[in-house]
């Protein structure tokens, strides 16, 4: 934290007969443990109270939207991992569905179910990370150790499925990269069985913890009207009592088949946002169990989409037709019609939207990423004013944002 202020010439002021206080300008971040990455807050303080907060973002801007305009649709999948890098599987799915909407392509039920399972596992891992980091921010170190242990188990399962722990790049336009390995769903169920009691233990470290409630209850209150006006989504919106969840309201990838509840807060403070995330993990486990119980058989990719999804490797190496097909998709990209679509998925952080403008061919003309963290952070100048500096830390922790997604 660097401090920029002029030392008041108190002797001169005394001589004039008056004593004035001065506002102090503090730059919090971009390297600060509570800003979870490279967010910088330009704070103006009156004593300990924030009178003005100006978030400075863009330190992690990599030009993802520019990059997307210069590569084929499948080549961009790894870049979506690096948006919300705490839930890459959910980003992969949102992007794939957006492009599939452009092609009016429906993937088989098995593919949809696999995507739902992975997206809900990503939600659990993202919320575990969010809870752990939130705990650290307000002085509860232990939570982090427990939640990271659980997250590690999930990452083992991700590695088994995709070959990578973090940057999974699991979806392709028109399907997923490969089917689930044998026995994998049993290991996911085993994880769910041991996770629920663990989750109760993790949450019990915070829910009735006096220090935690003192630091979060009544802090960073966002009214439902404000949350809607600023375009907040995800747990931050539902924490303010607005029951919007795209999985329920605009079901995609077969979410309408699963029975789950959408938790909402009542007061819209940092504590409510914490409670909402805790409950969402329980609901995710419910969805995963149902999806595995009713897992349809069949292909994990759209077989008939021959100009979009590359054929299986064994066929590429043995059949001329498939070899050509594979070659065309790799060099030219999956062929899309001209037109534009906008698709939003309910990601762990909120509604991740892709606005795809196509002029035909295998490369988007424009790909706009509507990132939930970007929209959620835009309310900071309003929420931080009047809070103490230490409250700002709790507010940031409760927002659970990711700068990779905010800055793109």
């Amino acid at each position: 934290m660097s401090v920029e202020h002029t030392i008041p010439d108190t002797a001169a002021k005394h001589a004039q007969g008056g004593f004035e206080t001065e506002k102090m300008s503090i730059s919090m971040g971009p390297s600060h443990p509570s800003t979870h990455g490279v967010l910088r807050l330009q704070l103006e303080l009156d004593g300990e109270v924030v009178t003005k907060a100006d978030p400075v973002i863009g330190y992690l801007h990599r030009g993802d939207e520019k990059i997307a305009e210069n590569m084929t649709y499948n080549q961009f999948v790894p870049y979506t991992d690096r948006l919300d890098y705490l839930a890459p599987l959910a980003n992969n799915m949102a992007y794939a569905i957006a492009v599939e909407r452009l092609a009016k392509l429906e993937v088989p039920p098995r593919c949809q179910a696999i995507r739902v399972i992975t997206a809900e596992m990503a939600r659990i891992s993202s919320h575990l990370m969010g809870l752990g980091a939130f705990g650290i921010d307000v002085g509860a170190w232990t939570v982090f150790l427990y939640s990271f242990t659980e997250r590690e188990k999930l990452y083992k399962l991700f590695e088994e499925l995709t070959g990578a722990r973090f940057t999974t790049s699991y979806t392709r336009i028109g399907g997923v990269a490969r089917d689930m390995p044998p026995g994998w769903t049993d290991r996911v169920l085993a994880f769910c069985d041991q996770f629920l009691p663990q989750l109760e233990e993790i949450l019990s470290l915070l829910t009735r913890n006096k220090i935690f409630t003192d630091r979060t209850a009544g802090i960073g209150v966002i009214s439902a009207q404000d949350a809607i006006a600023y375009g907040l989504t995800g747990p931050n919106l539902r924490g303010s009592g607005v029951p919007l969840d795209l999985r329920k309201d605009r079901p995609y990838s077969g979410y309408e088949q699963y029975d789950f509840d959408v938790p909402v807060g009542t007061r819209g403070d940092a504590y409510d946002r914490y409670l909402v995330r805790g409950e969402e993990m329980r609901q995710s486990v419910r969805i995963i169990r149902q999806a595995i119980a009713q897992l349809p058989a069949g292909k994990w990719y759209a077989e008939d989409a021959r100009r979009i999804f590359a054929p299986p490797k064994d066929k590429v190496l043995t059949s001329m037709e498939e070899l050509i097909q594979n070659f065309m998709i790799v060099t030219e990209g999956p062929q899309m019609p001209a037109g534009e679509v906008y698709f939003e998925a309910e990601n762990p952080k909120g509604a991740l939207g892709f606005y795809v403008v196509s002029k035909g061919g295998g490369v988007p003309w424009r790909l706009k990423i509507r990132s939930p963290s970007f929209c959620n952070l835009s309310i900071l100048p309003k929420v931080c004013v009047g809070a103490m500096v230490s409250d700002v830390v709790a507010i940031l922790g409760s927002f659970d944002f990711v700068m990779g997604e905010c800055d793109r």
Binding site: L244, D249, T331, E340, R370, K382
Partner: protein, 208 residues
């Protein structure tokens, strides 16, 4: 879905300048920039599209007319559907549209981003400055005439420049070894490849 279609029909009836916009998913409407705020207000107040989900600039390429379009996606918390509203900027050199910050405070950052990336001015925006790039950055990176490899630019902090004696440099191979091009063009042009191999990370850039 019908509520969104009704809203689009109502907009077209009320503003003669509004017209249907080709779409593959949500109902979409083109409105003239002069009617944009009134149309968005009507969507918000009369038709219940109370959330502004996204504001996106689009550059159709130098020489296109119109060159810049601003696309809004509004969402209804009651009907749970979207409407896409697009407004073309009449001027390609100094594009501008009126700001929606009076309707949604959340439009603030979205419009700053579109300004930052495309140079589209939002008239009436209270604080239109760059958001992702640094203040004083001279280019608009998402315009089609801005190269993927970037443009050599001085860094903002004079102290850093004095210490490192470097600025933001352009990427070799015109942005990478695999750069593809959009549109239905012939395969040689479309396929991902290095567009300029006169210099790489190992071979220094030839002096101009």
């Amino acid at each position: 879905m019908s509520a969104a279609l009704d809203a689009v029909q109502a907009l077209k009836a009320r503003w003669p300048g509004a017209s249907d916009r080709a779409t593959l998913d949500h109902p979409a409407v083109n409105v003239p920039a002069s009617d944009l705020v009134a149309a968005l207000r009507s969507l918000k107040e009369d038709h219940g599209f109370d959330v502004l989900q996204d504001v996106s600039g689009v550059d159709w390429g130098a020489g296109s007319s119109p060159r810049f379009t601003v696309v809004y996606h509004v969402f209804s918390t009651v009907g749970h559907d979207y409407v896409r509203v697009a407004a073309d900027c009449t001027d390609a050199v100094a594009p501008e549209v009126p700001s929606a910050t009076g309707l949604w405070p959340g439009a603030d950052w979205h419009e700053r981003e579109a300004f930052d990336m495309f140079g589209i001015r939002f008239t009436g925006h209270p604080d239109l400055r760059r958001i992702l790039m640094w203040d004083g950055y001279p280019h608009f990176p998402l315009r089609k005439d801005f190269p993927l490899s970037g443009v050599p630019t001085e860094l903002p902090d004079a102290e850093v420049v004095a210490e490192t004696r470097t600025g933001a440099i352009a990427a070799p191979m015109a942005g990478g070894p695999f750069v593809a091009s959009p549109g239905e063009i012939n395969m040689t042009e479309a396929e991902p490849r290095a567009k300029d191999e006169s210099w790489t990370e190992r071979r220094p850039k030839p002096e101009a």
